[in-house]
Symmetry: C2
Subunit: 334 residues, 2 copies
């Protein structure tokens, strides 16, 4: 039921004879050539664009709620994500309907339909299924990490590739000569898969032969990791690797425990770096489980909220990656 | 806008000339004397009670949402509580609006008003303020733990007193001769305060002189605990106590770290029991931070949901305590 008489940013661009991005830049105060700026301002004036955008905003603002779909609220990464989504929405005068899908496709579909029925202003989804074709028309959707087919969905994620490079190079910087990599991925493609690409790229850069365990799912994670360690273990107990980058903090923590149970010292014999930046008890800044590549959860949440509430969806990027950082957590030398 | 012509359970009781509890028992299939059962069934029939209850249910069911107010979603106890509230609501065809107040009274009030405005079916609140007088009229409210004045609010909590007794007796059972107690409480009264009563009661039962640190707030928790330890520490390093029951898992974990940094071995020299039942990474059943008294979070959440959606609010108990249990987590001998 979009009012066709309300000018969009596209109309302004057409009227001014400039690219859409130029209009966006002018509106957002980013410098453009003086000639372009004047053309855009003239078109905005003539089309009465700003006033109408505001009116359109009021018109489109339906329920003041945004739906967040996550697998569960117990995993500390998801819990923190939900927390910061709520904070960011609150600042914009919106409330969050939290939906825990347990990764079940049927529940995800049901939540999407509920969001449409209740006139939710949009959905932010962190799912393990490709829900693209089930999203009701006109329901703004932002995906965290996961790629959805059958529907254009802007995605927000951490810069996992750089994180993979960063972890591998940090291990080298801490004195490792042969860093290995362990990952258990979702069967559905997502940005997290790029952690492995980052590891492989760093190996190539530093002339290191890659050595990795890369599995889909995690049915029997502990025995898979044990098998990998044993395959690289010699009669005298020495290992082929002296550092491991593991794809999550949880898996890294479990790997540390396995190695410690075998008699290896962390970080003296083997150094470990995880990925996520989970704190003990969720919130204790001083207590990480392992040395790790930190995902910027507050910034990721804020970005998802800005995008889901954006009035100019046609200008949203397909993929937005936010920078990660390294934090020492006791399982490396520094 | 309650329809005065719809009979309530109270009307049935009056019509049948029996107590309200008797009506409830009959409706819920709990045995009562045959004579009473017949009277109630007759009254239900004559007042056409069941059919109207259903109609009233449909009428009262406003938005299919319930609002949960918690301080934050990062603390693993709150996160798990939110998770199980969502699951229980989903089973009843309701959705959860999650509100994180950071313990700020103004935000709690704003969330309550939003819930009323958006015709939320009810509110479940876990707050650190006495919000009783700010709750909009006719908005069903269930409190987790906290006592609200100025308004009757059914409360749900763990059986903290029994938990306190259980923790103290477990320390004795594990060979402790002098268990101490450490607590940092909210300045607002709540059921969690009863952990201390449980400790004191167990001391009395077992003829032990209580030895405790009991503070409001936790501004400088670590130095308060250090001070308490030093006050009970002799020149040769021996301590007056050989076990400590600490009021939360987080505080217990911090106490362990302090003692370990002083050179004491846990559990060989001192045994520690916490309270809450927090798992590492939120969900890993095998990994507790400390030996602990476990709060039954799924049952607590289910009870809150049953109550907030209850059609017979006049029958709700003022306080419902659910049983806790002990779980070994490495900081005791068993």
């Amino acid at each position: 039921m979009k009012n066709q008489n309300v000018p969009t940013m596209k109309d302004v661009a057409r009227h001014a004879g400039v690219a859409l991005g130029t209009v966006s830049k002018v509106i957002n105060g980013i410098p453009v050539g003086e000639e372009y700026r004047m053309k855009v301002e003239q078109a905005i004036k003539e089309l009465n664009y700003e006033v109408n955008t505001y009116a359109r905003g009021l018109k489109m603002q339906k329920s003041n709620t945004v739906t967040l779909i996550i697998p569960d609220a117990i995993n500390p990464f998801y819990a923190a994500f939900a927390h910061y989504i709520e904070s960011a929405l609150y600042k914009e005068g919106h409330f969050m309907v939290l939906c825990c899908s347990n990764g079940i496709l049927e529940k995800e579909i049901e939540y999407l339909n509920m969001a449409a029925k209740n006139q939710s202003d949009g959905v932010i989804a962190l799912t393990y299924n490709d829900i693209g074709k089930y999203v009701p028309e006109n329901l703004p959707l932002i995906s965290f990490d996961r790629i959805y087919t059958n529907r254009f969905t802007p995605r927000v994620a951490s810069d996992n590739f750089t994180g993979g490079v960063m972890a591998t190079e940090k291990l080298l910087e801490c004195g490792c000569r042969q860093p290995a990599f362990i990952t258990f991925n979702s069967p559905y493609p997502g940005e997290a898969d790029r952690r492995k690409n980052g590891y492989l790229h760093a190996c190539e850069l530093h002339h290191i032969t890659p050595m990795f365990l890369s599995e889909s799912g995690s049915r029997d994670m502990l025995s898979e990791i044990t098998g990998f360690i044993n395959a690289h273990r010699h009669g005298d107990g020495t290992l082929d690797f002296d550092g491991i980058f593991v794809n999550t903090d949880y898996n890294a923590y479990k790997t540390c425990r396995l190695l410690q149970d075998m008699g290896y010292r962390i970080p003296e014999d083997i150094q470990i770096i995880g990925f996520d930046g989970i704190h003990k008890f969720g919130f204790d800044e001083n207590e990480l489980f392992v040395s790790t590549i930190v995902q910027p959860i507050p910034a990721l949440a804020q970005t998802c909220v800005n995008m889901v509430l954006s009035k100019d969806r046609e200008l949203l990027p397909s993929l937005t990656l936010l920078p990660v950082s390294y934090q020492y957590g006791g399982t490396t030398r520094e």
